[in-house]
Symmetry: C2
DNA sequence: GTCTATACAAGGATAGAC
DNA sequence: GTCTATCCTTGTATAGAC
């Protein structure tokens, strides 16, 4: 394993354990038996390290969405997709919980407005697809409402999880919030859609 | 105005503008024409300053809830209460956006598990009261579901707001998320309850 | 009680030797 | 690619003036 990869793996581990702000570059270097300067060689700024981790997390999330769009839409497949994403978010929890630092870093790096627009359009496509497939019944402004719900819930379920129940194991945590998501979806599901959601209520 | 109050007011202003982590004790002192040591006299640790601000925010929130419980429950009055609280949260945005630091500070200071339990019980009381008053129709696990929704939404609407639309003015921001809340409530509202919610859809 | 001056430790970052 | 030495900023603490 290359030093660069070792640094990334170890950093994520430490960030997940103590939070990004609580882990210094010296901590990371020491825990790998490297000099702080060496770490600076691979990642000039702590920010560069974090950004690389963010990109890896995003790549995995994107893969899940691509998988979803590769076959016919159903609420069951939507929920499976979100399950994969929730687990992925859990694995990168350290990045998602340091909101403040994250926000600053991402705002500098990306055109964040465009990213947000894509994010919204993305979910809108998913929900309209589910309606077209007969899984959901969406009237006038229901799609907008669900998109707003999903962007907030999909981003902050993990923060809520670690704030309100810090000791909940990974599987239980994901199941708990997937169940909440399924309940919300079922409020707009057709009979067919409710059938599709059944496995998530057991 | 006493120095102590000046410090609190100015700190909140700076925290709201740049975030807690980006504002140092020296920044606060300089912007008030004080020495850093003087600030240390009034608040030995930055944490003490933040905790005092948190307590002020909580006191205001509590006042809104007390007002709600002082009269008969209705969805209209519930929404009015949340409006007051949302505005208050907006005014203290700097505290609520620095999640990571906040979490660490609060976990050290309070029995956070107990606080979370009270928070949940609190919303449960509100929703069961609304059901008893004929404003909502709650079946088997609907109350649990709404409590989970409300704790997450009530805590993170403001983060979502500043992440996804950083430039939205205060009034529009609060209206936007109150509307989302009203939509969610209306999914469980009786005819009477829907009537009560009408003003929030205009 | 209120404030200034100052010192110290820890963190991010960089320059330059090997 | 790796290391040492060094700089600057930040949170924190304290001695001592008024």
């Amino acid at each position: 394993m290359k030093t660069r990869d070792k640094i990334l793996t170890q950093s994520l581990k430490l960030f997940n354990e103590k939070g990004m702000a609580q882990v210094g570059v010296r901590d990371i270097a020491r825990s790998l038996g490297l000099s702080p300067g060496n770490l600076s060689y691979h990642f000039p700024k702590k920010e560069d390290l974090i950004l690389e981790l963010v990109n890896r997390m995003r790549a995995k999330n994107d893969a899940f969405y691509q998988q979803y769009f590769a076959a016919l839409p159903s609420l069951a497949r939507f929920m499976e997709t979100m399950r994969g994403i929730f687990f992925n978010q859990y694995d990168y929890q350290g990045l998602l919980i340091g909101q403040e630092e994250m926000k600053r870093i991402l705002f500098n790096e990306y055109d964040y407005k465009a990213v947000e627009e894509r994010r919204k359009a993305h979910f809108r496509t998913i929900f309209l697809g589910l309606a077209a497939a007969g899984e959901m019944k969406l009237e006038s402004e229901d799609a907008d409402f669900l998109v707003s719900y999903m962007t907030l819930f999909g981003r902050f379920w993990i923060l809520e999880c670690f704030v309100s129940t810090p000791d909940l194991p990974k599987d239980e945590a994901v199941d708990k919030y997937l169940l909440l998501l399924a309940r919300q979806m079922s409020l707009f599901a057709t009979e067919q859609g409710k059938e599709s959601l059944k496995p998530f209520f057991e």
